[in-house]
């Protein structure tokens, strides 16, 4: 009985670790391999506070959470600047440093000997000093931690994390503050992992460095992958399997002193078979689908302009005014003396040969690059030093030539995640004002469906973006831009590679947007399209404006034709 209880306690503790790690890597796409560091931090905080200062549970746990969340914030800083394999290397280094610190800070951590004699948790005067007594506490704590993780994962903040995981630049382009998101998810994930650390310290009554090595991080990672990235039920299943399987294999009699090695081989083979059969894990990530009976959009496909938030102001009013913009990369001047005005209700076509600086101009206007000279004014407000998400919040949004859709999110999620000012993006509201978040979410779903309907994607609202046709992907890009609520839209080649019918459809959408008083700028190579939808053409080459004017006039210009077509 006690053995079974012990195994279940470990399932609970690893359940906490796996779900918290899943928030980081499964939802946030942040491949930080230092979860055992957070686990160790909680365990050592409990060990040190309990043995040296006589502090008891739950204060040891709370202190551990604060300390570990702070460590999580520290780890988050390199994650701001580097990603993928660089972050893996940095966090592996942190893991190694952790073990070194634990080994060498002997007066505090006990060094290689660790800290023995940590007192057990005592509830109502009863010490929980055996597995059977400890199991209810472990189960309650696991349920609480999983509820905290689940609440975050299922909230709009969780959706934003998944969007960030899919494409950081696109997440910024729909107004997400990645710095804040990374800090929050690191701190929360670390804090939850420290709960497991605190519990294990009081439960085993001993902590030592060997329990928190990189192998421990890899084990927790295996639980997340086996269960399914981005699915918290999967993490619980992964934890249960990877704790129960090796214990179950102990009952498989293997003769000789290689029994445990043989069992490890069986263990490995079982994992390989599971992942071969279920490559995305036992519980793949689920996408949000509008609930049956959701507020139905009031507009039909390709519905009227009222589906779009009409921008305030007089048509023709200058909204964005970029003056003498310049951008140099070392000795290369990608953009020099670029001046452009964008007006309400007008569509400006930005054309020029490849390498002319068109996309760089978009990057400057949208905050993805900081200009080395010049200014960008939006309604008189200087945008030059704003970050991309701040530029979107101000009212200027852009798309990308390579679309950068959130491919594992559904169509409606792609739109939902782009809606501004969601209470569910605020962690305090997520946990403290669930009613507000729920109400806002209902309204936002209705709004997202309305936008999907406007671009003609209502029928595909619950389809995963990766399954859309190319034309549908282009429409979704526009829908996502619309959802930001920005009144200045920059579209990078929204019509390239499309058949004539779809081009006409998207051109219709662009005209509708212009009628809704949006200021629009598109980069396009199809001159027929430019002629058909644009009110003005700005021709740039070698990073500067060569000429600008009405499409018909410029297209008769021989010099332009020679430069453009060679």
């Amino acid at each position: 009985m006690e053995y079974l209880a012990h195994v279940l306690v470990m399932v609970c503790l690893y359940g906490i670790l796996a779900t918290s790690f899943n928030l980081l890597i499964g939802f946030g796409g942040i491949f930080a391999l230092a979860h055992a560091t957070f686990y160790a931090s909680g365990a050592y905080a409990a060990g040190i506070l309990a043995t040296k200062l006589g502090i008891g549970f739950p204060f040891t746990m709370l202190a551990g959470m604060v300390v570990t969340a702070a460590i999580g914030l520290l780890v988050a800083f390199p994650a701001m600047r580097v990603g993928s394999h660089y972050l893996v290397v940095i966090t592996l280094a942190l893991q190694a440093i952790t073990i070194d610190v634990l080994m060498n800070s002997k007066p505090l951590t006990g060094g290689p000997d660790g800290i023995p004699g940590i007192p057990p948790v005592s509830l109502f005067g009863t010490p929980l000093n055996n597995p059977v007594a400890f199991l209810p506490l472990a189960a309650v704590m696991a349920a609480l931690c999983c509820a905290v993780a689940w609440r975050l994962g299922a909230s709009p903040f969780g959706r934003s994390l998944r969007a960030m995981r899919e494409n950081e630049a696109a997440a910024q382009a729909v107004g997400k503050n990645l710095v804040r998101m990374k800090l929050v998810v690191f701190a929360l994930s670390a804090g939850l992992a420290s709960v497991a650390g605190s519990l294990v310290a009081h439960y085993i009554a001993f902590v030592n460095p060997e329990s928190f090595t990189i192998e421990e991080t890899i084990l927790i990672l295996a639980m997340v992958i086996l269960g399914g990235m981005g699915n918290l039920w999967g993490s619980l299943a992964g934890a249960a399997i990877l704790v129960l399987l090796p214990e179950g294999l102990k009952f498989v009699h293997v003769p000789g002193d290689i029994a445990d090695m043989v069992r490890q081989v069986i263990y490995g083979v079982v994992l390989i078979v599971i992942l071969r059969l279920r490559p995305e894990g036992l519980f793949p990530e689920t996408v949000f689908r509008p609930p049956t009976g959701a507020v139905l959009p009031t507009v039909p496909a390709n519905g009227p302009v009222s589906a779009v938030v009409r921008a305030e102001g007089a048509p023709g009013e200058v909204v964005v005014s970029a003056k003498a913009l310049a951008k140099s990369f070392g000795g290369i001047k990608a953009v020099k003396d670029l001046t452009i005005d964008l007006r309400r209700g007008e569509i400006v076509g930005l054309i020029g040969p490849n390498g002319a600086g068109k996309t760089t101009a978009f990057n400057l206007l949208s905050g993805f690059l900081r200009p080395t000279g010049g200014s960008i004014l939006y309604h008189g407000r200087d945008l030059t030093k704003l970050k991309p998400h701040e530029v979107v919040t101000a009212g200027l949004a852009r798309s990308f030539q390579d679309l950068k859709l959130f491919t594992k999110l559904s169509v409606v999620e792609n739109i939902l995640v782009s809606l501004p000012r969601q209470p569910g993006d605020n962690l305090l509201d997520v946990y403290l004002r669930p009613g507000l978040v729920r109400r806002a979410e209902r309204e936002n779903v209705a709004r997202a469906l309305e936008i999907a309907s406007f671009v003609g994607l209502l029928a595909k609202a619950d389809e995963v973006a990766a399954n859309l046709s190319y034309a549908e992907e282009k429409l979704l890009v526009i829908a996502r831009l619309l959802a930001t609520g920005a009144d200045v839209l920059l579209l990078d080649e929204p019509l390239s590679g499309l058949d004539t019918g779809t081009v006409e459809r998207i051109c219709g959408v662009l005209r509708d947007l212009a009628r809704a008083n949006k200021a629009i700028c598109i980069i396009e190579h199809n001159l027929e399209v430019i002629r058909g939808v644009c009110d003005e053409i700005v021709f740039i080459d070698e990073g500067r404006v060569l000429t600008k004017g009405p499409p018909d006039t410029l297209m008769r210009d021989r010099e332009l034709a020679e430069r453009y077509f060679g």
Partner: protein, 381 residues
Amino acid sequence: MSKNSVFAALLLGSVFAAGGAMAADPEVYKIGGIFAMTGASPHYGKVMSGGAQLAVDEINAKGGIDGTKLQLVVEDHKSGSAQAAVAGMNRLIDVEGVKAVLPSFSTVTLATMPIGDQKKILMLNGGGVSAQTVGTSPYMFNIRSMASDLAGGIAHRAADQGAKKLAQIAIKSEFGDATIAATTKAWEGMGLKMVAAEQFQADAANIDTQVAKLRASQPDAIANWPTTPQAGLAVKRLRELGMKQPVYCMEWTAEDSKVAGKHAEGVEVVTDYFAATDENPWSKRFAEAYKAKFGDMPDFYAANYYEGVYVIAELIRRSKAKGGDYYTGERLVQALWENPTFDSVYGKTLTFRKNGVAQKPVAVFRLENGEPKFVKFTSAE
């Protein structure tokens, strides 16, 4: 039924009720072993479980304990995982019903010790040397000499040979920390000077910085604490960097002789090192049986766990002889304290001191042609 037989039956019943009668023997006496069967150091698990299993086989071949066989049940602590060790300990007690456990590694022993204490399970450590395993539980015993014993032995040996200034080198581990602290205490306790103590990471391939610092300290002798294969590496680099002072080690294996090569010559090993000798027939029988079964000569870890099983078997035997519910951890501990002296495969006897640590002869060996040659016994106190 006659009056006499009724009276006899009542008397027998009253004896049973009083608990003085012999409890039924178990089907088999299970002895738990928590060893490093996988992970970074499976070599230790192999030799420790091998030594213990050989003892079990020998005892069973002679009829077990009054006809009841022994069985070794091994749990894997994956080379030092406290959590794996605790899972194994719980399984040994709860599923296998063991009353005595042989833990290994200091941290594993520390992690499982509270469970042994709570469940009243006799624990007999033959691997770890941490002082923290000493004196914290009435159920915890060490059959391996502690770092303090070996350090004392080396301090005496070096002092006997005229050294006044001692330098130490060790791995950064609980073993290294414990030995450095114990040696410093023993050496300075004799009024002598400790001039250097350097440590390096367990997986370090280059230890020249530490060796250079030892050389700069100009010691008369060097205490070399790393385990295999760094013990050999340290000797090699000490000699190659021109240090000719006597070197004393606590552990030395054939692997160290390979690494150190010709530089191993003359190095002394002061330890409860196991070596089969003609003066000790049991040691020869054990060494031959071990080699026949596993193909290698046993090291002292194999010897410790081998004699650990013999100690536990003897405790069961003594406890059974006393009658009653004899097969419990409490009764085994009681039997130990009634007579804490046991035959030792190292020679003569071992005696458990009040702190639960067995006192065994600490021997000095000198390496000649890569082989340890017994020199003398030295004082560990």
